[in-house]
Structures are given as C-alpha cells and as structure tokens.
Point group: C2
C-alpha cells in the first residue's frame, strides 16, 4: 500500500479507479480535461481498508492528510471551511470502483452551522437560500450519518406547512426555514441526546466515516453478492466544493446522458430542475424539465454542456451519464460515468460506436454485460405497472424474467387451469420430476424450498420459465390450497406476480411485456461468435429445449439427461418395475419395455440437432427417486406389478439412503445392474443408426457420457459393456459409425486421478454442480439452512453454486484438465454444470483451456458473449 491516502482531484487521473473509486477517478480526469469541475479531494479505498483494520476508526495520520488537502482546497477556492465571512461548503459522496446503488447517499452543504449560515445569508444576500441549505444539511446529515428516520423530518416539514397553511416547499419563507432548522436540531438532540455538531471538521469526519460504514450495510452486501463485487475493494470518499443550483432562477441542477439509455438513440437525453439542489431531482417532488428546454432558457449554458458531453463521450468512448449544476448561470460538472442502459440500448450503442468508428468490435463486445442479455430473452414487467407494485416477500432469483398469473398448488391443477385458458403460477413446497407437465404450462414457478440448483430452478431455467425458489418464509398449505407471506394470505386463483431476476414476489397482478430481440442482437452476437474460442453447447433433454437452444446459437447438446425422459406416465411403470424386480432377467424384461421409448426420444433429438453433436448422459439419480411415496400410489403399483403392498414397501424401505446424494446412483447403478447400460447403449446407438440411415448427411457420432465416475475402473467396466453392445449393433447395421465414450468429472477423486481416467475417456465434462457439492462438503438442498448466515458473516461472498469457486473447485478443474490432457492429448474437455452459463465461470473455463461450455438454453447467448469477452481479455 502506498503511504498517501488523500488525493486532490488535480493529483489523480481516470486510470486510478482502484484507488480513487470510479467517481473520484472521473472527477480527476475531468479536471485534467480542463472541464469546469468544482474542486475537491478523494479519500482513497485504501483509507477505507485502514478504517476497518483500525476497528472502524480513522487514524490520526489519515485525518491529518484530510486536513492538509482541505487546506489546499481552501487555497484553490480562496474560501475558508467554517469561516462565516467566506465559507467553503462541501459535498461528501461515496464512490466505489463500480457504481453501487446499495451505498450511501450524498451529503450536501456540509460546513454549515448557525454562524456560517448567517454569513452565507449575508454574503449571498439570499437568507432564504442560506437557511434552506442549512435545513437540508441538517436533514441529510441526520438521515445519512446518524441514521435518524427520514420520515420524522418530513413529518416536521408537514407540521410547519400545516401550521402555515401552505402546501408546497417553495412556499416556505425564510422564517419557516429558520423554524425548520430549530425544530430539526431539537429533534436531533431529543433522539441522540447530543447537540447537532456545529464544528465543521467534526461534520466532515463523521460524514467520511459514514461513507466507509455504508460499505458494510446490508443493502450494499446484497448488491455486491448479486454483482460479483468483492468486499475487499472498499469505497473511496469524494469531498467536493459545493456549488449551488438553488440560488435562484439562473441556477439549477440536472442529470443527462449522451445517448438515450432506454433505446440507445444518439441524442442528448436528460432532465433538470431550476433553482434546486441534487436531491430534489432524485426525490421526484417537483417534475424536472427535459434537457432540450435548456436550449431555450439558457442557450449558452446548453451549448457549453452539449460540447462537454460530446467531449466526454469521445474521451471515454462510451455513453456518459453526467451530473451538472448551474450556479448563477455558470455550468459545473459534478460527475461523469459510463451510463447504465437497457440491454437493447447496450447492444445498439455498442454496434453504433463501432459503426461510428470510435471503438473496435472487441471493445464493443466488452461493453455489454453478458448477464444483461437475459432480459432480452424473457418477458419483463411493464415498468410503470412495476413502479406502483409492492413485493410481499423475496425468494431466490432462480430463473429470470417476469411472470403474472393465478396461483395453483399442484401440477395437475396447473395443467387443468391452463387447458381452460388461464395463466397460472405453480406454487409448491418443492417440485419433483413428477411435476414436469405442470411446470411446462405455468407462467412462473414459486417454491418454498430449494436453492438455485434445485429441481425447480434447473428445470425452469431450461424452459426459460420465470422461477422464484427457496422462499422459506412462505407458510404453505398445499392440501387446503393457500399460502401466507408477508402477512398476506393468498388462495388458489388469486393473482400473484414473480420477478425471477430479483426473487421478488407480489400479491397482485402486474402487466408484463413479451421478450423482444432487436436486429442489433444478431450483429452483436455474430461478432461474439467470430471472436470466441470456446464452443457453446446446451443442456437439453427434450426436442423443444434443443430447438430453443439452437435458436439461441447452441452448437450442440453438452448434456442430455436421460432420466428426465422417464417420468412420462407410460414409462414410469416400466421404470418402477425395473427397480423392484429381483433378478437380472426380470430387470432386462422391464428394460425392454423402456427401450423403444428411449430410442424414439433420441431419434427425435438427433433429428432436431441436424448433425450437431449430442452428449448423452446415462442414468444418474438414485433409483428411489422414481418410486412412489404415497400409500395409495404404492398399493396401485404393487397391484400392477403383482406383488404385495408389504413387499413393495419393504423394497422402498431397502432403497432408503441416509445421504442419497452420496449413495447408489450414477455409474454405481450401471455397475450393479449392467443391464441398464446395455439398454441405454442400445437406445442411443440404434437411434443414431436409424436417423443416419434417413439423413446420412448428419454423420451422427453418438457421445455417451458415464456419470459419477470416481475411479478409472468404473469407467473401464462400463465402457466394456457399452462398447461390446455398440460394436455389435453397428456391425449389424453395416454402417461405418463412430462413437465416443467419456465421463462426467463431478467427484473430487475423478479430478485427482484424471490422468488415469483420461486413458479410458474420449472426453471429460465437468459436472460442476456435484463437484461443488462434494468439494465443499455440503448439499445444495441443505445449504440453504446456513448459507445466509455465511453471507451475513462475510464467510462467503457469493453462492458457489451460481459462480464457480475458482479457489477450490477451480483448482480441481485445472488439475483434472492438466492431468487429463497430459495423458490423452486428444481429450475433449467441457463443462455442463449450471456454471456453464455464468460469465465469470465461462471466463475461467476459457483460461483453463476447456473446449466447450454447456448451459441451459436461455443462457446460451450469455455464454457466447462471455466466451468472446474471455477470448478478448486473454489476448
């Protein structure tokens, strides 16, 4: 760490984001550019780290540095902090490396006290302005620094207005302002048992500490987790000379963008308020004017501003979001930054900037956050409708998009209501594979239990359906068909709305608008495709999913889970028969019934894929997942299988496992029951043969993937079975068909012994869901019980099931990739866990030298862009 903790704006530059934060760096850069920036200084992010290291206190040497910079600022401005005759007033704002809405608001007018205010009144000959500024300062300081409730101050203002019989703030006169100052200070003293601080230096230090503190508030922590911002970064603090937009009608304040942030259109876009301070714009009490009006009211200011805007955009080569203040006709720039924009705008701006010759395609590709593409692919709430709605609770943002519909409590109801033309939201304690049909017709899915990789979440993402999972505060009564949340009881048929991108749940109807993809999307994604090195496949189990994914640019299927095909009513009976019989022959007989279904499934998939590759994973889940749990179902099945209920119950009891995630599943099933592998091989190969006969141009080469391998001998054993079955079928067909056999790497031991396994495998696919579970030693289904506690205590900063844990799980992946390629140079390596669609994880996969990522269909565009960005970054 350097020894310097405070920088004057004139000492920094735009590249010093890490140290000065985004706001501080840009203020320094604008100073270099010679723009009219009120001067000031930045207390660095390293000072923030020191603050926390020192038990939340500012060390003497940093305090002194602040005072020295303050002194220099006084010299620059020719004003004195705390001096009534010629007062320097300050604004104090937070400013992290990335802009973070979760953090502290601004404090304006700092440095005022009774004496200075009186001096300011005298100096400006505008006592109302002076006392208005003072009461605003007390209000902001009390709220932001001392955390006194904002509403109390609003109430006091209302009291005064009522007493005076007026309704608008602007109607308050100077005496009213003085009265407010008096009442605010009394309330402050009553609440905190101390006087409002009149010493400006104390005001300043407290404000700086408040900014540092705000880095650690719950909102900021949640925002960071959602946006992958490390806690260790810290925030800087910007202390800047006040300029006043509230000195009269030649003054004002505003916010503007160099392009339209909603559409991307290239025109100055923004709004401003005459005779106001910054927070008035934000508060929305007065309606601001369109920036175009400024052209008429203050043409020279407008012209000057437009020039600056253009200069800034050309300097930063990106759309700018700027704050400005006009003080008595003089324009000041308070801030500039790359502006937030909608996904559509982001694409248009990126493409336009390239076409304007301002940036390269690579730069353009880096400008769009891959996660933002999500909003293009899913319905969204109508923004107006949403602004009036109020959530009753929040779950996990399990599958993005917005949904609105009538609540139903069972998959069957979902189907029936849907058939009658209703839009439904399926609400369940948790979903299971049996619910699949109901899930397919629902607008959205809401579950009480289950994390980001629960059944509901995974399936919903696959279908592109909005899903909020794991809202444990819901008390649900599925049999009586109602739930309560946030004090509200919701009955079957009531409207609710879900925001799958935030996890918010509303007990009301909110209009949604359909997903729309612009022409810019295609141009942009083509650039991404020609840049990326990683191939992008999809996880899809049905022809519909596969079709959707291909539309989104998937180059094949990286994971086709065969077990999801087993829950159809016609099939589940045969599956159950297979499980409960006691000899290999009986099992074979049951499997023979399943074979035609599996085979025709694969044939359909191969046809949809038109020659694109498909990795088919053999049966994976513990068998008891397929068994019935209800008395009635058990009796029915026992009868159809011609065994006693008691006997079936015993079989189910025998299949019970203490830790099914670590039990008899994956390749362990094929080791115990090789008949299953034989049946599945037959289905895959026969399907490929049939489709290849019909469409020889597809040149299908089946890829068979054995799950849950932990020892090369498991793979060897099953490979023996698969090969002898496949070779016979191919020989009989007379075709010249190749196929490959690979394995999931999802058990730590597989990664550790990847050199041995690679000798028997044509490809590896990292199953990062299970690999994360085993590496961390916790199950995704149970981790919900303690993960919140982990976030609160900052033990984890992100959910390792969402974002790949590069430190631990990543180490295994690197090790396995290296060991694997060393012992088998032809080994293909991919990833097919949920992480395949997470940008930072995709970047990791690129760096690690993987060949492809595979993710759910709706994440394919994200993965394509993330892969392109990774390729550019590693250039």
């Amino acid at each position: 760490m350097s020894e310097k903790y405070v920088y004057l704006f004139s000492e920094g530059n735009g590249k010093m984001r890490e140290l000065l934060g985004g706001k501080g760096a840009n203020l320094a850069e604008m100073t270099i550019l010679g723009l009219p920036v009120p001067q000031g200084f930045t207390v660095t992010t390293e000072a923030c780290a020191k603050y926390y290291e020192n038990g939340k206190s500012i060390s003497k040497n940093i305090e002194n540095e602040i005072y020295e910079s303050l002194k220099k600022l006084e010299e620059k401005t020719n004003k004195k902090f705390g001096n009534a005759k010629n007062p320097l007033l300050l604004s104090v704002r937070s400013g992290a490396r990335e802009s973070m809405p979760g953090m502290m608001d601004t404090i304006l007018n700092l440095g005022l006290n009774d004496e200075v205010t009186e001096g300011l009144a005298h100096l400006t000959q505008n006592p109302r302005f002076a006392y208005d500024s003072y009461r605003r300062f007390i209000q902001m300081f009390s709220d932001v620094v001392m955390e006194l409730p904002k509403s109390e101050f609003e109430r006091i203002i209302d009291d005064v207005k009522k007493e005076r019989g007026i309704s608008l703030d602007t109607e308050l006169n100077v005496d009213d302002m003085k009265d407010l100052v008096y009442r605010f200070k009394s309330f402050y003293k009553k609440s905190l048992n101390e006087d409002f601080p009149s010493e400006p230096r104390k005001q300043l230090l407290e404000a700086i500490k408040a900014v540092f503190r705000s880095w650690d508030n719950p909102r900021a922590n949640v925002y960071r987790r959602m946006n992958d911002i490390p806690y260790s970064w810290g925030t800087a603090v910007n202390v800047q000379e006040m300029v006043f937009g509230n000195t009269g009608i030649k003054s004002g304040t505003g916010v503007a963008f160099t392009r339209d942030p909603a559409t991307g259109e290239h025109r100055l876009f923004g709004e401003y308020l005459i005779n106001a301070q910054g927070e008035d714009v934000v508060a929305g009490i007065r309606t601001p004017q369109n920036i175009d009006n400024l052209k008429d009211s203050m043409p020279d200011v407008y012209e000057k501003f437009a020039k600056i805007a253009s200069k800034l955009e050309n300097h930063y080569l990106d759309m700018q979001d700027m704050e400005f203040t006009i003080e008595n006709g003089k324009l000041y720039m308070l801030q500039t930054r790359n502006g937030k924009r909608t996904a559509n705008a982001a694409l248009k701006i990126a493409v336009d900037l390239v076409e304007e010759g301002k940036i390269s395609k690579d730069e353009a590709l880096l400008r769009v956050d891959p996660k933002q593409l999500d909003s293009l692919l899913h319905p969204q709430f109508n923004p107006n409708a949403l602004s009036k709605a109020k959530p009753i609770g929040k779950g996990l943002a399990a599958s993005p998009g917005a949904a609105c519909g009538k609540v139903v409590f069972s998959a069957q109801d979902a189907k029936e209501w849907h058939d009658k033309g209703e839009k439904v939201i399926l609400t369940r304690l948790e979903t299971s594979p049996e619910d699949i049909e109901g899930m397919a017709v629902a607008e959205g899915i809401l579950t009480v239990r289950g994390g980001m990789t629960s059944h509901a979440a995974v399936v919903a993402r696959g279908m592109g359906t909005c899903c909020v999972s794991g809202c444990t505060e819901i008390k649900i009564n599925e049999s009586e068909k109602y739930f309560t949340l946030g004090g509200k009881t919701v009955y079957e048929g009531d409207y609710i709305s879900l925001n799958g991108s935030t996890g918010e749940i509303y007990a009301e109807q909110i209009q949604t608008s359909e997903a729309t993809i612009s022409g810019y999307f295609d141009t942009f994604m083509q650039w991404a495709d020609s840049t990326r090195k990683l191939k992008v496949r999809t996880n899809a189990d049905t022809p519909a999913d596969a079709q959707q994914a291909i539309k989104f640019g998937a180059e094949g299927i990286g994971l086709c889970r065969t077990e999801h095909m087993f829950f159809d009513e016609n099939r589940i009976k045969a599956i159950r028969e297979m499980i409960v019989v006691e000899t290999a022959e009986e099992r074979k007989r049951a499997l023979d019934k399943i074979l035609p279904f599996q085979q025709s499934d694969f044939e359909e998939m191969y046809k949809v894929l038109e020659g694109r590759p498909m990795t088919i994973r053999f049966l994976d889940p513990p068998l008891h997942e397929f068994l019935p749990t209800k008395k009635k179902d058990i009796a029915e099945i026992a009868q159809s299988l011609n065994i006693s209920t008691q006997h079936l119950e015993n079989i189910i009891k025998d299949l019970h496992e203490f830790n099914p995630m670590m039990g008899h599943r994956g390749c362990r099933l094929a080791v115990s029951y090789p008949e299953i592998a034989i049946m599945q091989t037959t289905a895959v190969i026969s399907a490929a043969i049939n489709v290849n006969r019909e469409y020889p141009e597809y040149k299908i080469e089946p890829e068979i993937m054995i799950p849950l391998v932990g020892d090369v001998n498991e793979l060897k054993f099953i490979k023996g079975i698969v090969c002898s079955t496949a070779d016979n079928l191919i020989k009989d067909s007379g075709l010249d068909m190749k196929y490959t056999i690979g394995t999931m790497i999802e058990i730590p031991r597989a990664a550790l012994t990847a050199d041995e396994i690679a000798k028997e495998a044509d490809f590896f696919s990292f199953g990062t869901n299970d690999l994360t579970q085993m590496t961390f030693g916790f199950s995704r289904d149970d981790a919900g019980k303690f993960l919140n506690s982990y976030y609160e205590k900052k033990i984890y900063e992100f959910d390792p099931f969402e974002k790949l844990d590069q430190n631990g799980v990543g180490k295994l992946i690197e090790m396995a990739s290296k060991l694997g390629k060393e012992s088998n140079a032809n080994l293909k390596i991919g990833i097919c866990g949920e992480h395949g669609g997470d940008p930072s994880s995709v970047e990791f996969c690129h760096r690690t030298g993987l060949d492809y990522v595979s993710c759910s269909p709706f994440r394919v565009p994200i993965a394509r862009l993330a892969a392109a960005q990774a390729a550019i970054k590693s250039k």
Copy 2:
C-alpha cells in the same frame, strides 16, 4: 516384461519372489544351497498376467517354453514324462508372492494314465502304490482342475469299502484301487461328458491353467482384500518332479517348523506320516506322529533333516515352515517358507533372534505384522472349542476379538441382564448414540446394518469390544426379540458367539480365553518406540478410554469428540432445549446448563492425561441427531420444554436434511450459533485452568479443533470467538497459559486451500473418514449397497474406509501437507480418522511427513509398530 516366462529351479534364486512367487523362489534358493530338492520349474507370475490378458488362455510361446523346460527336467532326472518304462511324474502347485490359503490346492502324481500306471507298477514292483497314486491323481485333478465335488469321490470310496466290508483306506488292496480308478473315471465321464485326459501334456496344461484361474476365485479375492494383496500380482505355478512318501514304511511325508509356531520356543516342531502322500497329513484321516519320533525310527534321516532345518533358518534368519518327503529312506525338501505363527510366538521369535545375534532390532521390528498385535489385546476363542463350531453366517469384522454371551435386543436389556450377572451380546438393526450404555456392558455387538465405520463399529473399537456389523442377511425382529440367520432362529437369551476378527457368527456357546500380554511385548514395543518418528495419539472421549490408551502407549489424545458427552440422561435434556429454542439468549441459557458438565468432563480428562496433550474437537454432528424420533419421547420432551408437541414436531421437521452428512453440521453450527463455540471454549479453558492450578506440573496447553472447515473464513470467524473468550478467561485466571487452535482437514476444499487455512491454524488433523466420503462422493452409511458389487467386479480391491486410498484421498493429504507447511512452517499435522490405526495408512502418513497419527485405544500398539516399520523402511 522380460521375454522369459518359465524358469528351472536351477535358474532362479530366493530374491525372485515377484517373478517366481514365494514357493518358486525358495525352491530355487534351496537348489542353490545344495539341499535335496526334487527338481522342476516355475511358470512365472508374468505368465499369469499374460494368461488373463489373452482372454484366459496360455499363448503358444509360453506353452513352448513349458515344454522346453520339461525337456530339460527330463534330462536332469533321466526320466520321461508320459513314458511307461521310466515315467517322470509331476506335482503342480500355486505359489504367489505372499502365501495365500485362498488359492488352489496341490495336484500330485500328474503324468499318470493307464499305461504309465502299469509301467510304474512294474518299475516299482508295487502295483498297489501305482494304482493308489493313480486314483489319488484322478481324484485331485477332478476336484481341483475340473471342480467336480470332492464329496462324490469320498462317497465312491465309501461304497467300495462298504462292498468289501472294510473300514480303513489302508485296507484297500490293489484290486480295490483299480476298481476306484475305474469308478472315478466313469463318474468323470458321466459328469463332464468327456473322458478323463490320458494325455500327460494336456493334464499339465490344464493344471497350470487351473492354478492361474484359482487366482481369481472368490475365496482368493476375499483373502486378498483382507490382506492388502493386489490383484495385479498374479500367481506363479511350480511344476516339480514327484517323490513318493507312499512307497512303504521306509517312506513318509511331513511338515515341520524350526521353532514352535504357537509359543516361539526354539526347538524343532512338527509331525509326519509314514507311507503317505502330502494330502493325508492335511486331510487328518490318519493321526500323524510327532517329529521327535523320527529320531528313533529313522535317526539318520532325522539328523539330516535337523541339520537342513538349522541351515535354512540361519540362511533366511527367520523361523522356517518346511515340507519334506522321505522316499525309501531318502529325504527330500519340498518347500520352505517363513512360518506363520501366533502373535505371542512372533514377538518371542523376533526378540530371541535379536538376542541370538542373528538379526538387528530393525529387522526384528519388520518381522511382526502390526495387525497381529490385535489378538494380544482381545479375548480369543479357545482353539479346541472353535474347531468344533460352525458359523451360521458372516458379517463385517468390525472390531476384533471373540465374544460369547446371551442375545439381547435392546441397550436397556443389555444393561439389566448385565446387572443380573449375565454376559450378553447386544444385537441391533443398527446402534445409535443412545445405545452407548448397553454397548459398554456387552461382551460383543452384532448389527444388521452399517459398515466398518458405522456407529457400532467405531464405538466398539474404541471400547475394545468385539463387534460384527453389517450382517445384512439377518432378518431381525427387535420388538419380538428374535432373529434368523442361516436357517436358524435365535431368541432372546440364546447363546451366540462372535468372531470380531473374521466376522463369523455362531449360534452356540464357544469358550473364550482372556487377552494376555507377554514380557516380550514390552521389550518389542520399546524397540518400536525408539525407532519411530511419528507420534501416536488416541481417539478417546472418556477418561476410561484415555486410561486404556495410555496403557497401550498413547502419547496423548488426538481426537476428543465432545458430542459423545452429550447423551447422558442429565445432559440430553439441556441439549434438546438448546436446539429447539428460537433466540440466541434462550440458547445461551440452555448452554449454560451444559457448561458445568462439559467442563467437569474435560477436567477429568486432563487429570487422566497428566500433562499429555489433548485435541478437543468442537461440536460436529447435525443437531437433529440429538432429537428424539419416537412419538412418546417427543411428547415427553415437548412437555418438559413447555411447548406443544406439534411445535416440537415442526422443529424436528425443519431440522430434517436430505443429506445430513453434507448438511448443517461441524463448524457450520458454530457459524450459525456462535454461543455454542463460546460455551465449549469456556468449558475447555476453565477446565484447563482448574487442573493447572491443582497440578501446575502438567503445564496444560489446550488444543481446540474446529471441525469441517472448508474455507479459511470459517476458521477465522470461529477463531475470533474462541480467542476472545479464551483470552479473557486466562487473563482473569492470572495464569500464563497457552492454547492452540487448529482444524480438521476433512472437506476436499480445505485440502485444496490449505495454504490459506494454514495461515490461521496452529495444527491440521486429517479427518480421513469424512475426507474419504467427500473425495469418493459416497457416504459410508450407504456404500454398503454397492461396494460388494465393486469388489466382485474388481473395481475396488479394498475398502477405502479401512485402508487409506493413497491415489485419491492421499493426493489431497499430500497437497494439503505441502501447502500447509509452506505457508506456516510451525504447523503440526496429524491424522485422526480410522486410518490412523491401519498399518499401510500409517506408513503413508510417515512418508508424507505427518507429525502424529491418532487412533482408537486398542489400535495404539498397531500404530506404534507400523510407525516404527515405516521409519525403518524409509531409512
């Protein structure tokens, strides 16, 4: 691989065990020593590997090599194989690197057919001998090579004897022998639909193939798994010229040892039979004579044999187990090997050989198999009683020793019956911590479910109680108090006997004898202690266990599990209260009730340890383990806690986890409920302060171990709590006490990020039970369902919960040790899983540079010896 697959005895030597097997190498060595060995050749272990590679067939070139060696043997012996005038007859025997009783028996007299037998009769002028040899050959070949049932041949002999009205084999005359040959051959043809092979070369090849095949039979596979013999070794085959002990009264055959294998006494010990072939001694039909009698009957043979015996012992410098044959007064040595011996004999022989100046102490230490020490520490069956008993079934050999007692079916019954003076065997579906008192008083424990590391197994080993676990064939009815196994129903109060070293279960009373430790034990173990580098600690939770372990040489406690202290009737109520309350304060109140119990437990432990170190692990299991499962118990507890039964049931339901092994447990509990860590720290530190005050010379330095850490931040967080609590207590006490804080490494991620964790840890202790589970991705409770299938298919050769998986889990341990020591040079590293008492795992720990191993008390001597052997091997 070399290109030579067959070695004449004269071409090999004693060091070629890997290639020639133990028997073959020793035959070659005896040839070099000039001893009277019938000559022959050895088909190598590499030929065995080739046999399996070639789809179980002997390649042409190996077949030719065999014939070439046969030709040289004919030259050497001046006899011809298959020639009636001067026949060369052969014996064929298996011979692996380590002697393996699970494999093939010997085939004698190979090379006989009708013609050769007639020639032999003529040549020896002893037709009865010739036909006796012939019928023996047919019998052995049919049994061993063709797997026809032995009993059928016995039945045919009985038929002939009955028809002839005689009762002894020796009464059969030459015609009877011819009759037997005829009947045997008819039976052979009837059973196999082919003639008995009269072509000697075919006989030879079939016999060799049978030996190769026997390497893969189920008995051999089980034996290998029990004795850590890799499947890849293969077996050699020894083909040797026949000499005949059955040519008359100047002939005979016998087995002798250079020392008494039961006691170790230094004297020639053995027995022989006049006019007999090898299998007669083994079969036990005739009673052999003591070897001393040979001194009188054939003094010159005896003298010659005694000289050879002495020469062999001095050559091999170990007690020899020798087979010999006397043919017409001439002595032949058929085999010599280091003899099997009892544990007591092993110790005496090792110590004696050192005192005789024949071997060094290091050599002596390598002579005793550490696992053998077990039998010295536990009761054993009386050998005579055992030889008459017949097991009704077999489970897992979960805790060694022998036990006999009356069956009871609940822990409470065990206690009541024991109080009435009965010896009991506690038989349960599975045990749980609530059974602990019943387990403590039982002679032995038998469970239907659970593996080698199930609750029953772990606790029994800790107490040194015999235990057979996981006998899934038992059908148990605990409520009606009976079980059935092997067709027998055993009721409460019936006697059963258990062999915890083999897993065998007997439905009868078998006398046991107490464990006895000889003076040699102490001498020997002192040598071990002064040789080993690894320290040996014990896993103990009670003062009694600790005392026992110290008696066995433990240098401290490596793992004291605090949760086992929670099941006492007085405490469990407070524990349950702690779990079901809903605020931190209520939880603290419940914990305050537990504190005095924990503290006084630790005080007692510290007193027993007298200054030896103790690592105390904080609460580890999922909380729901402490909750009641029975309706009645739940109601009772709800009442005592003053909450409704419904409410308690809901709490229990909420605590349910899908995969408890990967759930809310270990340090995750302390993260959620820091109050628990505070209470436990207070108990540990206060106990240490109190005992240190009373016995300042103990200089106690508490070692606190945080379980299940997967991320350094978990450790940091809990360490903060522990340190602030401990530092305050120590400061208040005025003592100058140090303490250390470390962590279990039992989550793969902890091993992968050990460099980070080591910065916060004073010590690591590898929890290899959990680490094995997570690395393999299967739970020890569930693995039983498929592990047998894995052994059968040779996917696994051993149980990774018994013997450390050095390839996978070991890689993590090596990585963690290296990373840990690199980032913290003072880091102490140990292991406290079940593997701490397994010799091959101890050797691995030594090689990896660990500081100590910790194991259950009764395994401490094993670990001490294994550690010494590891140190010697790495010299």
